[in-house]
Structures are given as structure tokens and as C-alpha cells.
Assembly symmetry: C2
Homo-oligomer: 288 residues x 2
């Protein structure tokens, strides 16, 4: 187990926000994450359920935890929140930082198979396996009560991780997720770079394609989408494709999808509905 280095610790609501760095074997570089721990977990009174949040393009581990306004509700519910970074950093790949849609901050949460990315860009394994093992081994959390959510590229990540790992997550939710990346420029561009030209390989990381094959157990999904979101209108998100795929597959998925008039793609939108998302996860994390 790699050792964690504490970067900062701040009291917030009835708990603490900690920032840590650690060397990741999945990404072969130093990774950073934040964790909110409720007092009940800090005092080892009660193992906290854990919510993972995956952020979108251009973001780091900080955007959601500082801007989404989730902590009052997580504190109230006694739920831990983990916000990983969105990609490896500083891994000496040429052009890593030159394109906001590829490389740093744009991992798309896949395990890359292509050069020059494959040694480091393994964020699927990092989030699904390494980070969660580290969290479970280090903090007073309940590894059997885990849910996941995300925004945009991170909404895509949350949907993919949950649908590919039946039973692992109690619930999944997303704000303006990229739903059908093999059919939008956000997806095709990155999958070509990270996964190569073979489109069959892309389907492993496409929520709409994956959900067609999902067989259970019941997975509750909540999606919120703003109708003033320019990435929605430019067909980068394709929410309707995911809804149609869920409806076509007579599978145990319970999907609630909301179109929100007037809201865009920003954290102004995310914060507006964060209380609903925390309540949704709390209900499923606390159910027997």
C-alpha cells in the first residue's frame, strides 16, 4: 500500500476536508485527491458510506469540492466524499498539457492501450481499484456502501464504472454526462488517441453501449441535464441515446432523467441540483 502524504486539513461543517498525494502504480505518477470525512468517521464511531465524484474536462480534484456546495448535505448525512484528480499530471508526454480535450485533465477515465498514453493514462483502474482500495484501507469507511457521481466527462466516468461493475455501487448519478462517447466528438477524439482505431475497444467505455448488455443487480441512476447547455445542443452529450438504450434493455436499471430549463454546463448548474443528488445517494447508501 503506497503511503499517503497529507497536504492540508481543514474543518468544514461537522467534519474535515483532507488533501493527500500518493504515488500511484496505475498511473506511475503522483496523484492528488481530497476527502471529506464526517465526524462520525473521524471519531471511529461509525464507518461512513463513501461517495466518489469524478470531475470534467479542465478540472482538478478541487473544482467540485470547493464549488458544488455538497458538504452541508454530506455532513448532515454522515457520508464521506472522495474527489480524485481528472488525469495523471507531469508524466512527460509531449503535448500532454497543450490540448484541453486530450491529456492532462482529459483522461476520460479509460485504461489507455496506445502510445504515448498507456504507461500512465489508466484512470479506470486508478479510480475503480487502486484509489478505492487505498481509501478503504486508510479511513474509517464502509467499503460495502459505495456510490459514484460525476459531471460531464466525469459523468461519463461514473456511468461507465457503475455499469461495468454490477453490484459494486449502490447508486450512480451524473450532471450533464457525456452519454454516448463513440458517437460524439467528445469521445471519438480521445478514444482514438487512448484506445486506437478499433471501435470495438471503445464500447468498453461507452455507457450507452454498455447499458445495452447490463444484466443486474438493480442499479439506480439519476441524471440532470440543463437545456441551455451548449455542449448538449452541439450533441456532445447525447443524453437521449442513453435513455433509449436503458428503455430498450429490459434490465434492472431504475433511471430518473431530468431536463432542467435554463441551466447550462457550469458549476452554477451543478450546485443547483447537488442537494437532490446527495439525497438520492444517501437513500441508496443507507438502504439494507
Amino acid at each position: 500500500m503506497p503511503s499517503l502524504e497529507l497536504v492540508s486539513k481543514n474543518r468544514c461543517f461537522r467534519g474535515e476536508v483532507h488533501k493527500y498525494t500518493h504515488f500511484s502504480t496505475s498511473t506511475q505518477c503522483k496523484m492528488t485527491f481530497n476527502i471529506f470525512l464526517p465526524d462520525t468517521a473521524l471519531s471511529q464511531k461509525e464507518k461512513a458510506p463513501v461517495l466518489y465524484f469524478l470531475s470534467g474536462l479542465t478540472c482538478t480534484e478541487d473544482n467540485m469540492i470547493t464549488k458544488a456546495g455538497a458538504l452541508p448535505y454530506l455532513s448532515e448525512e454522515g457520508i464521506a466524499l472522495v474527489t480524485p484528480d481528472t488525469s495523471p499530471r507531469g508524466v512527460d508526454i509531449g503535448g500532454e498539457d497543450s490540448d484541453w480535450e486530450l491529456g492532462a485533465s482529459a483522461s476520460f477515465y479509460v485504461d489507455a492501450t496506445q502510445e504515448p498514453w498507456k504507461a500512465n493514462y489508466n484512470m479506470y483502474s486508478y479510480v475503480q481499484n487502486e484509489l478505492q482500495q487505498l481509501i478503504n484501507a486508510t479511513f474509517f469507511v464502509d467499503s460495502s456502501r459505495v456510490s459514484i457521481f460525476g459531471h460531464s466527462m466525469g459523468g461519463h466516468g461514473a456511468l461507465v464504472l457503475s455499469v461495468r461493475n454490477p453490484g459494486h455501487y449502490k447508486s450512480v448519478s451524473a450532471f450533464a454526462p457525456i452519454c454516448h462517447p463513440t458517437h460524439s466528438n467528445w469521445g471519438r477524439k480521445q478514444f482514438t488517441a487512448y484506445l486506437g482505431e478499433d471501435v470495438k475497444e471503445w464500447a468498453k467505455y461507452d455507457a450507452t453501449e454498455l447499458v445495452k448488455l447490463y444484466e443486474g443487480p438493480t442499479l439506480p441512476i439519476l441524471i440532470d441535464q440543463g437545456d441551455a447547455d451548449r455542449f448538449y445542443s452541439s450533441k456532445q452529450l447525447l443524453t437521449s441515446h442513453f435513455v433509449v438504450a436503458v428503455e430498450a434493455n429490459d434490465c434492472p436499471i431504475k433511471l430518473e432523467s431530468n431536463m432542467r430549463p435554463g441551466y447550462d454546463h457550469s458549476y452554477w448548474f451543478v450546485q443547483t441540483f447537488i442537494k437532490d443528488h446527495v439525497a438520492f445517494h444517501a437513500k441508496h447508501l443507507r438502504s439494507e
Copy 2:
């Protein structure tokens, strides 16, 4: 009236966040502010009461509105929020950006009388007069229902503006305010630069000195301070001096001052108590 230039507009909760720039006659440069307008004001159904928030050292107009988590409560209450920048910017004063405690982001909300600051560093007049006249003339707000709050240097600003203008604000509150700047390094350093060596001039911008002379009408004040705040322990804030001054003056001030165990000087602290502060102001803004 100077013309406003709209920079951005985002729907958030039941309202919108707008960012504007305008040329200020007080500071002789372009200034930027954010305003949250509840739907009731946007639709001209009801003139919104207005809360002004003054930020601290190193901050801009964005820190509080993006990080403090105030909007759910302001939306619920139908109250507008205005977050001005913390200083003039780009006014071509040598060293303006080189010291985080002086110049850009460090106006201390005074009207400077000394070179090279006096042509631009007039944030007292900007916030108290120019900005409020602009807001009242432009938006569907109730100019008779105005309150103010702030953080650190901005808490100092909020206290000074409210005590110097009896009856103008319905209420004032502060997170970890600089309370006695003529007696702390945060204060002496800036007042020397902006106001000169004459300590009598400094008292005009010192909440503890001003409150000794306050005569009414009743001013409700709420202060929250974290006891793990390193600027509190290094005696930059001197909350107790302000409390003693209020108690010594048998004046119509109603002060509630809370010491919060474990909290520091950051926005993690501010967001923890923001709901209380909005509720405090809402009560006074809505009272007859």
C-alpha cells in the same frame, strides 16, 4: 451613470448570476462585480433586498460567490447578492501586484489620501456610494433594504461601512474580521501606505475605534470566528477588542459574537456558517 458591460450570465437555483464590468469614477479604472438576482427580481415581481459581500486579501469578486455556498439560501429568501472586487486593478502603480498585503486585492476599503494610491484606491467611496447607486439604478432591488457582510479584510470593510453610516444597513455580519486594524500589522501597514503617518486619520477606518462613538439607530451585528485561525492566534484580528468596545459604549448595537472550535480562516469555515449569516440578514432585511 456609467454603462455596464455584461461579461457572463448563468442560471443558478431560482435566479441568475451575472458578471459585469464598468468604468468607476471612484477608482478611475474598470471594475468588475457579480450579482445574484432571484427570479422575483428578474421578473420584476418584487424588489429584492440586497446583501453586499466584501472579500478578503488575495480575493477577487469571484471567491465568495463560487465557494461560500450562499446561493441556495439567498434564492430561498429572494435576496440579491452583490460581490465587488477587492481593489482597483491594473492602474499602473509600481509594485501594485508585488505584495499580497498591499495594493491589488488589498484595498482595505479606504479612500487613500497618499501617493501613489490616492487617485485609484478609493474603495470606501466605490462600495458605499458609486456601486450601490449603480445597483439601485440598474436592477429591480429595494434600496431601502440593504445589508452587508464580509470575510477578514472584507469583514473589516463591512463593519466600518455599517458603523460609519448609521441607518444605511439593516444588519452587518463578518467572518473572521480584522477588528482593530490600528492595533494589528494587518492595518498599520496598509493605513500607513494609504492614509499616511497620522494615526488620527486611521481611526476613520477602524471598527473598534468607530464603534466607541456610535450613537444609533440599532445596528444588529453577527461575528463568527474560528479558534484554529492562525491569523486570530497571531493577533491580526483582535475580535475581543471590538467586543469590549461595544460593551463599553452603552449604544444601540446588538452584537452576537461566536467562537467556533476547530475552524480556520478559510472558505471551509465561511461556508460552514453561511446559512446562519444569510438567515440573520434575511430576518433584518424583512423586518418592518
